[in-house]
Symmetry: C2
Subunit: 303 residues, 2 copies
Amino acid sequence: MLVGVVDSERRIVYRATAPSHGLRQDELLETLERELRTARQARPDVVAAGLGIPCTIDRQRGVAIVAVNLEIADVPVRELMTERLGLPVFLDNDANVAILAEHRFGAARGARNAVMLTIGTGIGGGLIVDGRLYRGSTGAGAELGHTVIDADGPRCQGNCPNRGCVEALASGTAIAREGLAAAQAAPGSALGRALADGVELDGREVTDAALAGDETAQEVLEVIGTRLGVAFSSLANIFDPDVIVIGGGASRAGELLAGPAREELASRALPPMSGTPVTTAELGPDAGLIGAATMALLELDGG
Amino acid sequence: MLVGVVDSERRIVYRATAPSHGLRQDELLETLERELRTARQARPDVVAAGLGIPCTIDRQRGVAIVAVNLEIADVPVRELMTERLGLPVFLDNDANVAILAEHRFGAARGARNAVMLTIGTGIGGGLIVDGRLYRGSTGAGAELGHTVIDADGPRCQGNCPNRGCVEALASGTAIAREGLAAAQAAPGSALGRALADGVELDGREVTDAALAGDETAQEVLEVIGTRLGVAFSSLANIFDPDVIVIGGGASRAGELLAGPAREELASRALPPMSGTPVTTAELGPDAGLIGAATMALLELDGG
């Protein structure tokens, strides 16, 4: 859980993180309330809270409906948090707010049609269609992480009943899994030595090792990037977008992930979609934070 | 090539077919011109021609850009045919006009968001987003037949460089291929006897045999429908649409194809998208014909 206070110039003036994975629903809501209180104590001039949750959202009622990777179901988060904090609270899907930020201020600026995948524990999806956020007929759409790339592939994670989704094969969880296998196969690599030292190899550790030059970790990101590229070829053929943006924590990997993804897209998609630009979020892993604040401000101003 | 004359009540008052597959570009254009002339001689009150071509279209210039399954590239079809026929001619992608017809008069009537796959030699795609035809940023989008369902699957057909597209695995060409294999494996089936009688088993023959009750042919359509369902699970997760429509020649198979596709979608997609209605085109294989005429009338009226 990434918590921040964003000022009117989009500067992040307070930042904190708290673990959310594996928490029960009541623990999750308590953590959220505590973190929001702490942030507000640090910056008492806060005027509203915007929450980007990796979850299907009923925006009219402010309810978190169902999540693949979080224990949360049918919770009236807006009402609960507004009451507990005495602040206006607004919520939306985390990848929706991330692409909102990238569309306004980042890599998708000026795009008529844009696609964003946010890579963390799972893979979230955000869509800009004809210049506006696309949510689908019931508001549960743009679940781009659950685009199948291998019909007979591994079971997807969490509550997703599908097989071979790009989330199952290229999320942070998949980076960690492939990183562990690579570390075991190459004990002399930086990744292998980290494993021997008892480091728990998550997506962050693998990305850090790759950025520090470890070839074994870089090969892991190449495999993951290539898998992303398969999904991008479908999404490019479907949307013919101006740009595809990689966001979330893994976007720190930059070209180590975007390069192979772009190459795979170029070799698979139909022309002219094969030339669709692929880039990482300009706001980096903070796209969600800045987007959630932007969303709250827009809502305060009446949408 | 399906050629028809449609009256203002959407009745098809003339109908003809001509083979187009395997023709060179000049032969294709000659066939098109000849068929349009013959149609016009049969119904001299024709006011315009609308062409739905399985091809990327530059609508502003009326140019057929590039096709997966036709020998056509960068041809100014609108100008050529307008000159040769002395009639206003308009063109669009075949699946775009098919969903236009289904959205106005058929299975997607009233839908805010709808997805259509037209299954013929290849698989075309049509998208209604927020009530309007979606074409993508360059106009080449909605190529839904080139949604990957198996990253390591067979090479796609024609000019598509991809692997494991739903077109490669569930088009009419795939129905024919699977039908041949099934006929060889079950020589006592209707399909097997047809093969022994020297019948060339194309998608139409397999569909006819299935509709007539041949279990072997029905099993082929079940396999194909299940593969369609994998693509539908991606498209439902992405679009959260009101309806998914199966069109093209194979739509005659009705529930034999839609049933397994709906079941596979239900078992794979996230809720609530798992409940997305799946249906065959109400206008059947004529959706493209009626849509092309509708498009031409709309264009005559100034779009």
